[in-house]
Symmetry: D2
Subunit: 278 residues, 4 copies
């Protein structure tokens, strides 16, 4: 999973007992600012929600286990343990993404680790001498390794894209990292499903079609006719898709890819060496 | 300046003598892939353009000056020197962004340093033992320091946003980094101009209005009535704006913010300490 | 109901035993044209489907009952009887809009009666001396009369807008017709629900907000906070809404507004006279 | 020219000495309604502007020359004479569309004559016994006749589409009216230029591509590669295009198509008879 930091940060509010409220996108923002109310489109919450969440993250990130450079997958996994503990303490019925991903060993990456309140707090701690920092190169190689491993023995890989932006590119660049940069022979992802409002004509990657991805080797040409782009709000499309999947498919064993990161990275390294020497 | 790596990477093609061509967004991408032609909406180019640009970046990034952790501003500045040299050698009339920013001391940040062919090549080199890596926390603090310095002595700051995505948030989060995270008293940016196709109703940050930014302290409430959002293709809006600015304003002395990074960061650090002790 | 002629025309294909097929929006249209295949986004069908439907409409419209000027509601009602008969003959399970509206006395208006294959065929028949023509002024007054009647005795009116365009304006202009033009005291529609992809910022009526409608008297200011605009594809939003309505509300008696047109129009006329003389 | 009635109606405000003002799309519409201010996105004006313009139209439309059924081209041409007279009287420097089109014999059609304040006022007058009504079938045949005449002797036709909606379809259906409905052999428009925000994926005609139009015979397949769709706000695109055209091309003699309507219609009629008998 690749997410912006903002999605993970704001999801944490609920996990640590804070609340957000339904508001209006047409609110008077000058008035909101005066009353210390923060707005995200039609969601409103108290400025203290930010301050409390910041304090939570900073407190946890001072722990000894965070005093080093690590991939964002490791960072999110370690944070997830603390978030989960807090959820249990509060008896919360709602499960946060970080805590759930921790429990099931799902690695969560972010392509822009400095770009969010999480990154901002890590940066502030760094001014104080804290040793936590992000290994973005590990993120690039680990995500490529996960894709390459999926292909082993005739396996298949696919991408599910809710929205667009930097996370979309980060997920898709796994194939060029394997083929174009590391020189390993590969054909592209086998499945491509995007739910987005971004249209191709702006020329940006958010709206780039599966066809364009084929021209880069990101998607297997033979898979193109089965790719799907759905121009829909993700808050409508994802629940429909999820309900359908849960209703039509029994649970599958967890892959626990987080636990296998080193093994997969070693395999990528070997394939890269083989390709370089060929 | 905050840019995606992709914009900087593809701009480099021209600087090192490679070419891209006008194509069609309706091309047959399976055929393009067969013929090793890569497409970005209505731009097409040979796959070798990627391989040659990758080789250029990797060769430069093996130099001793790149064998350490650095902010993306420093990385782009140092790369810019090599790109500029290559442009001079080729007698190119066209000036790349990296080379021009190097010459005029304009710091260029990227909010997602692993997310682009540049980041992919740095990651590949890391598998070989190369020591270059990105200090994303420095990026966060340096950009906040630049904004805080602009405000000194009653100065003003502004943001010009072409498009949206992670770079938009990274530019705007400078104010919450100053106020919410570092606890320094501040009021928000004084100018906000966005040219984008992203609408507010999707709820994402790309289309978030200046009003929403006011509720976060990103934009000064008193400046709200003068903010501008222009729903227009950036390739139409930016040239119009640039032509207008060049025609109506004499050149100003360069600020050379890149050269002043350490000084500005020291100042941010002091203000943070003062605020923490208050 | 206000519909474009195109929606009613293409819906008729199924009613008279013709078929349309799932295709691709990325088809080669020059090739399609050569093979006499017509495309509407991702729907394809044989050119003969148009010719046969044209022939069906022309044949019916030569009947004596169509040899005069009439409102589009009357035209669609009368056509609906023929379409229904054909459906019964074919034993079709699928019910067309025209036939169903005929059966339940739902008046269907079109705001642009010349703009569609239906209008084109009526125009062609006129070249041959056929006497059918459209009374667009009756459409304007009848739709206003329906709204005014809904308000009688403290009743309420509402608009459900799937898409935008001319039909949206035609539905909403009923209130200005009552208030601004006929001078009858009224406050605006009580409910406003739109499912559309049209955003306000283009300045057109398709994306105009309920708020803008309030400033015109089209929507009751007191109802504004309950209005809904849903930026969603109608093919997703309408089925969700319909399923919800059918699951949560028992059937209601039919209003058969078509049958009451003259009575409602008389009432509008009286109220207009009263207002003029006041 | 095919326009909505709304564009022509609101353009008339200036011609008869009324004013509209720059406002904000974020105004409080309930307050605006209380103060009798009407809003169109970021334009605001007094409710009396509507009442005065309505009165102007109604007064003119009571004249003997309007006491019959006529095409919208004739209606707009005749109205244009009155609007022009008023402009002269007021010494207005600004020229309205109706007055200018009258002067140069440019026929203006509307595809939805009942759908606008103009149509609403005509409908209200009809309740009083006024005899003016719209001949929508004449509109359909006249527009087809203009296109067919453009093709005579190897001539060429083209469409310039600013926006979309019903006017777009009305302009494009001229070719199916000629080919599919009247059975006259023809190949489609030679030029297609659209400036719009409507994307193809919604499936509507507003965003339908020139390719889709080729599959219908609306655009000549051989012309497809030269068609242009520009996803841009018309208020930006049209001035750029107009300035370019005026700067790069000397004035051409006026075609005065309005004056030639009967002749062109006769020619269409003859070609239709010939085709029917073949």
């Amino acid at each position: 999973m690749v997410s912006t930091g903002a999605n993970l940060y704001h999801d944490t509010h609920f996990a640590i007992g804070l609340t957000m409220h339904v508001g209006s996108p047409f609110a008077d923002d000058v008035q909101l600012r005066k009353e210390q109310i923060v707005r995200i489109y039609d969601i409103v919450f108290d400025y203290n929600v930010l301050l409390s969440t910041d304090a939570f993250y900073r407190e946890v990130m001072k722990a000894p286990e965070f005093q080093r450079n690590m991939s964002t997958a490791e960072f999110h996994y370690r944070m997830g343990a603390y978030v989960r503990e807090r959820e249990k303490l509060l008896g919360s019925k709602r499960r946060s993404v970080l805590a759930t991903a921790h429990e099931f060993g799902v690695p969560i990456y972010t392509s822009s680790p400095g770009d969010s309140s999480i990154g901002m707090n890590v940066a502030a701690l760094a001014l104080d001498g804290n040793k936590l920092s992000f290994d973005v190169l590990a993120d690039v190689n680990e995500t490529a390794a996960i894709v390459l491993a999926a292909k082993d023995g005739g396996g298949r890989s696919g991408v599910v894209l809710i929205g667009g932006g930097s996370p979309k590119n980060f997920v898709l660049q796994t194939e060029p990292q394997i083929q174009e940069v590391l020189g390993i022979s590969e054909k592209g992802h086998d499945y491509f499903l995007q739910i987005t409002d971004a249209r191709p004509d702006t020329g940006g990657l958010s709206g780039a079609t599966p066809g364009e991805a084929v021209s880069w080797g990101k998607v297997d040409p033979e898979a193109l006719s089965e790719t799907v782009v759905c121009y829909l709000d993700g808050t409508v499309g994802l629940p429909l898709l999820t309900a359908y999947a849960l209703a039509n498919h029994p649970p599958r064993p967890h892959k626990r890819l987080y636990d296998r990161r080193n093994e997969l990275l070693d395999s990528l390294h070997r394939r890269y060496k083989d390709a370089s020497e060929a």
